[in-house]
């Protein structure tokens, strides 16, 4: 098993606000992320695919294919967008790092043409990130 990771960057705006909560409660829970005008981040996304290198090509997954999938599924949907209003997959969810990472996982998993999606890591800033992986897959790539 070999892990291959591709990194992309996108920029987007968002706001944390739960309409079921009062304005005071939203401010208490979400702090400055509740600012009514929103704010934005430069996100860094690391997508890791696990698999055996193909005996003919030597590849776990063709990077050109992966790049195209990331462009279609992530960049077109999220880059220079407002995550609250322009990404239907996030409708009804607070666009936290955790939720955006999970949406990205669900978008990418069925599209990976070779190997399998092992991990999605989304950095909202260099000091804050969310990881998604399937239970049963260890961080090191081995199955349980």
């Amino acid at each position: 098993m070999v892990l291959l990771t591709r990194k992309i960057e996108f920029s987007a705006s968002h706001r944390y606000n739960n309409p079921a909560l009062s304005p005071e409660e939203n401010l208490r829970v979400f702090g400055k992320c509740n600012n009514p005008h929103g704010h934005g981040h430069n996100y860094t996304l690391e997508v890791t695919v696990a698999g055996e290198p193909d005996p003919v090509t030597g590849m776990v997954v063709d990077l050109a294919d992966l790049k195209k999938i990331l462009e279609q599924e992530v960049m077109r949907r999220m880059d220079h967008r407002h995550l609250n209003f322009e990404v239907p997959e996030l409708a009804g969810q607070i666009p936290t790092c955790e939720n955006v990472a999970r949406v990205i996982w669900n978008l990418l998993e069925p599209k990976i043409p070779q190997g399998r999606l092992h991990r999605v890591r989304l950095y909202e800033s260099p000091d804050l990130f969310a990881d998604c992986y399937r239970n049963g897959a260890s961080r090191n790539g081995s199955a349980a």
């Binding site: 999970r102 399998r116 000091d127 990881d131 998604c132 239970n135 349980a144």
Partner: protein, 153 residues
């Protein structure tokens, strides 16, 4: 491929913190000559320091109301109280109880930080990763984990 599609999607949150501290690697169980041989310049009698980076990973259900595994403000406050305030701009050997008896290698520091953060009440502590310098890093995920993840077992 194998089991993946049906298995639950697990989410972790990682957060990086920083502190600066001094230490000296010296074991009372060895002679001065032995200490010098094993620890080299890290055995320098006057100590030295590092800018440490602590990466804390937690896991749990994402709360539908907040979209969060745990509120970052709670995690930040807990880590500040348990680790950053007692360690930052301190001598680990002189000012952290655990290192009166243990050598403050970054392996031991990792374990000590894990021990301090394990009781975080809002989510499960998955692991602690400490960068002593940008070239050396150490991870600890509790004794039950062999290769950095409970799932590996």
């Amino acid at each position: 491929m194998t089991m993946s599609r049906g298995a639950e999607l697990k989410t972790e949150l990682g957060r990086r913190y920083r502190f600066a501290a001094s230490h000296r690697l010296h074991s009372a169980q060895m002679s001065d000559a032995e200490n010098a041989r094993i620890y080299g310049k890290c055995n320098n009698a006057c100590g030295h320091g590092h800018n440490y980076v602590v990466e804390v990973s937690i896991s749990g259900e994402v709360d539908p109301a907040t979209g969060m595994i745990a509120n970052l403000a709670d995690l930040d406050e807990f880590v500040a109280r348990e680790v950053i305030e007692p360690f930052d701009h301190r001598s680990l050997n002189e000012e952290v109880e655990a290192f009166r008896s243990e050598v403050p290698t970054t392996e031991n520091l990792c374990i000590e930080i894990y021990r301090r953060l394990k009781s975080f009440p809002k989510a499960k502590l998955e692991r602690v990763r400490v960068e002593e310098t940008s070239n050396n890093s150490f991870e600890y995920a509790g004794d039950e984990a062999v290769s950095g993840s409970d799932e590996a077992l």
